[in-house]
Amino acid sequence: MPRAWRIGLALAALSAAALGLSLAFGSRAIAPLDLARVLFAPDGSVDAQIVQELRLPRALAAFGTGGLLAIAGALMQVLLRNPLADPYVMGASGGAAVGALGAMLLGAGGVLIQGGAFGGALASTGLVFMLARREFAGASLTDPGTGAPRLLLAGVMLAALWTALVTLLLTIAPEARIRGMLFWLAGDLSAGSGGAVAWAALIVITLAAWPLGRALNVVLRGPIAAQALGVRVQGVRRLLFVLASLATAVAVTTSGAVGFVGLVVPHALRLAIGNDQRVLLPACALAGGALLVLADTVARTVIAPQQLPVGLVTALLGVPSFLMLLLGRMR
């Protein structure tokens, strides 16, 4: 399949370029030759320290998170057969926020905050699917197409509930903790930790979902048509749910509530390369990573030395895309 490889290579080159840019730019610009030197042969200079200790871990965490969010979005969109599904829209990020902020409020440290976020994201996705279990549990294959909007709306409502709880937590939180909480909420990559976990999860989840690509294309035709074509629809759905939830949970644990990457990236890629999941899924992993690295670079540089939360940049990209998708479908 030469086309898939061409697309993959182009996106890999784009990813490398995005990572290079994010290492070179910031409150202190580093020339390309110097960058190569301090990256591959660190010499203890200020530039080397900036790249090795600040920018590289941050860029890697951003890439892992972006890839995970994009692939989670793509998988949820197949699961719900709806291009509007996204970890943030579906309330998973909100659940993670409640978990993480709750831990912060109790004065917990790094690992517990991450645990809170991970648990909150899993609990929230689990809850959405329990609310709509009629469509997804048991052997029922009937009701084609009508269950998905219900599930999407259940997610949106749950997200609203999480927002209310987050407001409550912010109201009762002591002054000193509020800034950290607000940063977490808007997507915070400054901690720059968890990059390795995010990368490992990204690789494992992409490799687990990729061989399903052909079956996922069939599932997009609806559960009955897919089962008639020999796809074990219930099993595939369960696997999709587990992979999408895990990807979301790891992503929000690494970087806080970064929204809309899971919506924008699959949508843009579908327009560019089509909706063949065999090509789309790995492309999402690469393009999602590259997009978040670039968004983070913008967030760090536009008002340097001040930093914007990366979630702000992705929301500015994501909300118009969501509305365009929604209004385009209503025509």
Partner: protein, 259 residues
């Protein structure tokens, strides 16, 4: 006719909730036969087709397809023996019509096979030609009309290359020319090799013209089965559809006139 039995349903009971749609249906579909499924709205035509396809368990009884019990068969094995055309598919995502037809080749790939072969592409293109939709190959399915979409779905079913086709209202949304074209195609198709088709239809005249056999679902859960002329009598149809109706011979063909 004494062709091979492609579909064998025994003592089938279908229930939805507390309502019994069908009781004690025994049906054998042999090679070369074109069965049409007739019955009023809500009489269980779709439920019966899904049950025959093995996608829904009957309350009682068993179905086997070319000797394979559909309840216990692996889905991928079943998908190489029978295909199902569902009622209108809702497309949320753009896709080329040719790619949708290529999905019909899915059962012929093993789990780890990744790409589509040149054979797959040739079969898919032939299928599009067969339903007079070759010109739609590169079109986006979300921009197609209802009838065009229906023909693309039919092409996907043809590309699946199964001996037994189950079709849920295949003529819905089709214009006159394509209705006749489709039924003529099926009529010829079942006579080539060991093949058969079962289709739900609403048009009695088309059913009488093209089908070899008929299955009439009555509201009381009793179904009558047999050669089309025996099953489609004025009295049986009028009772099943709860509407007066009579048939008359025109040019050696039965024409049905609702009262």
């Amino acid at each position: 006719m004494n062709g091979v039995v492609l579909l064998d349903a025994r003592e089938l009971d279908l229930r939805v909730g507390a309502r019994t749609l069908l009781s004690a249906l025994t049906l054998q579909v042999r090679a070369g036969e074109l069965w049409c499924l007739l019955g009023p709205n809500g009489s269980g035509k779709t439920t019966l087709l899904h049950t025959l396809a093995g996608l829904r368990a009957p309350a009682l009884g068993s179905v086997s397809c070319l000797g394979l019990d559909v309840a216990s068969a692996a889905p991928e094995q079943l998908a190489r023996r029978r295909g199902l055309l569902t009622q209108s598919v809702h497309d949320s995502f753009s896709a080329r019509a040719l790619d949708v037809v290529l999905l019909g080749r899915h059962p012929h790939h093993d789990r780890w096979s990744f790409g589509d072969s040149d054979d797959d592409r040739r079969i898919a293109l032939d299928a599009l030609v067969a339903v007079d939709a070759a010109a739609l190959a590169a079109r986006d399915v979300t921009t197609l009309s209802g009838g065009e979409r229906q023909r693309v779905a039919l092409a996907a079913l043809l590309a699946q290359q199964v001996p037994l086709m189950l079709l849920d209202e295949p003529t819905a949304h089709l214009d006159l020319k394509h209705q006749i074209g489709l039924l003529e195609h099926l009529h010829v198709w079942v006579q080539q090799g060991e093949r058969a088709a079962v289709l739900a239809l609403h048009d009695l005249n088309l059913a009488a013209r093209f089908a070899t056999h008929a299955l009439l679902l009555a509201p009381d859960g009793r179904a009558s089965t047999g050669p089309v002329d025996d099953v489609m009598t004025d009295a049986a149809l009028a009772a099943a559809f709860d509407h007066p109706l009579h048939r008359q011979r025109v040019d050696s063909r039965w024409i049905y006139l609702p009262g």
